[in-house]
């Protein structure tokens, strides 16, 4: 019996094929398959093609279950760029792949832990939206220096 294949579509309309028994590691896809057989293309409107290619690579892994923890760690370690990891975490959220989501978030947390305030803002392109008054209030609230 030939294995059933599903097609996923990224937000930039690229199509990716994946065998159904591997795709259902995603709870989102599993539920779709259960409901209507998911015969048509599954659109992922928030996931770009680069990220979806990574997700497919992860889903296609051939690891024994006991090696899985190490594999997912190594998988995100090798993609240590913060923007890539954030896209990956969002894709894992949309597809409901908990292990991948947690590993990507853990990696981002590990990276920003060692950053200074400015480095965090720069890496995530976050603007400091505090007014000088708020800055002062925060300094007063957190007088850790003894």
């Amino acid at each position: 019996m030939s294995k059933k294949t599903l097609t996923l579509m990224s937000k930039d309309k690229q199509l990716f094929n994946i065998e159904e028994h591997l795709a259902v590691q995603s709870v989102t896809i599993r539920n779709m398959v259960k409901e209507d057989g998911a015969s048509s293309v599954i659109p992922l409107p928030r996931v770009d093609s680069e990220t979806l290619a990574l997700v497919i690579e992860y889903l296609n892994r051939q690891q024994a279950p006991e090696e899985d923890e190490d594999y997912v760690k190594k998988f995100v370690d090798e993609r240590g760029e913060i923007p890539t990891l954030l896209e990956l975490a969002q894709a894992a959220l949309d597809l409901d792949i908990k292990k991948l989501m947690d590993a990507a978030c853990m990696k981002v947390a590990d990276l920003i832990k060692d950053f200074t305030l400015e480095e965090v803002r720069e890496a995530l392109r976050i603007e400091n939206d505090r007014t000088p008054e708020e800055e002062k209030a925060i300094r007063d609230e957190f007088q850790w220096a003894f």
Binding site: E50, A109, R125, I126
Partner: protein
């Protein structure tokens, strides 16, 4: 990959998940100061259900103690798992335990405020409630005439709460007032020594029943 993407637009589940993993010291020292959105996330009690402070050598013991207390405060009673490294001391453990008592007592105060709107007479002697619970009681129980807070030593009457109590309640008995004269207390010191004595006896119950029926 879009180079100009604003990462604050990421789903909040992703940001929450990341900040949850950043750890107590780095949240307090850095993450919460990044921007208003992160500051908000870092104040949500569920961010503090797990507090792990086991191996940081970066900060002084005093600073770690202060951070740990701050983390416990922010958990607002939702603490599930706490790991305290070699900086821990008896006072810190006492603080964590007290905080837990206070939170459950505050929850009781909130329940009273939400449900017993007709309440006129309330005695909370030796309770561990803080201003949070008191505030909820004042908000919800508009008919309260007598409020007895003796030995409820965590009430601080911050932010004009005392003035409000005096305006709203005819008879306020303060936390520091002497215990004698209360009809429901038989020698508070003995009660503290033996928790089993804490159980109310039959005589007490029937007296309470009578007070409701008359």
């Amino acid at each position: 990959m879009q180079p100009t993407r604003n990462w604050l637009e990421l789903p909040s589940d992703v940001m929450d998940n990341i900040l949850f993993r950043v750890g107590v010291c780095d949240i307090l020292e850095n993450a919460q100061k990044v921007c208003t959105a992160w500051r908000k996330i870092c104040k949500v009690p569920t961010m503090w259900t797990v507090i792990c402070m086991d191996y940081s050598y970066e900060y002084s013991v005093d600073k770690k103690l202060a951070m740990c207390k701050q983390a416990v405060d922010r958990s607002q009673g939702q603490l599930i798992d706490i790991t305290i490294g070699d900086f821990g001391n008896y006072e810190l453990l006492q603080y964590v335990a007290d905080r837990d008592y206070k939170d459950s007592c505050d929850k009781m105060g909130i329940l009273i405020g939400e449900n017993l709107h007709e309440l006129e007479h309330l005695e909370l002697i030796g309770n561990n409630m803080t201003d949070i619970g008191l505030q909820a009681i004042l908000d919800g129980c508009c008919h309260l005439k007598l409020l007895d807070l003796r030995m409820s030593s965590f009430i601080e009457f911050e932010g004009g709460l005392e003035k409000r109590c005096l305006e709203q309640i005819e008879c306020l008995i303060r936390p520091d007032e002497a215990l004698k004269g209360s009809q429901y207390i038989y020698g508070y010191d003995d009660l503290l020594d033996d928790p089993e004595d804490y159980e109310f006896d039959d005589e007490w119950l029937s007296r309470l029943e009578r007070s409701f029926t008359t």
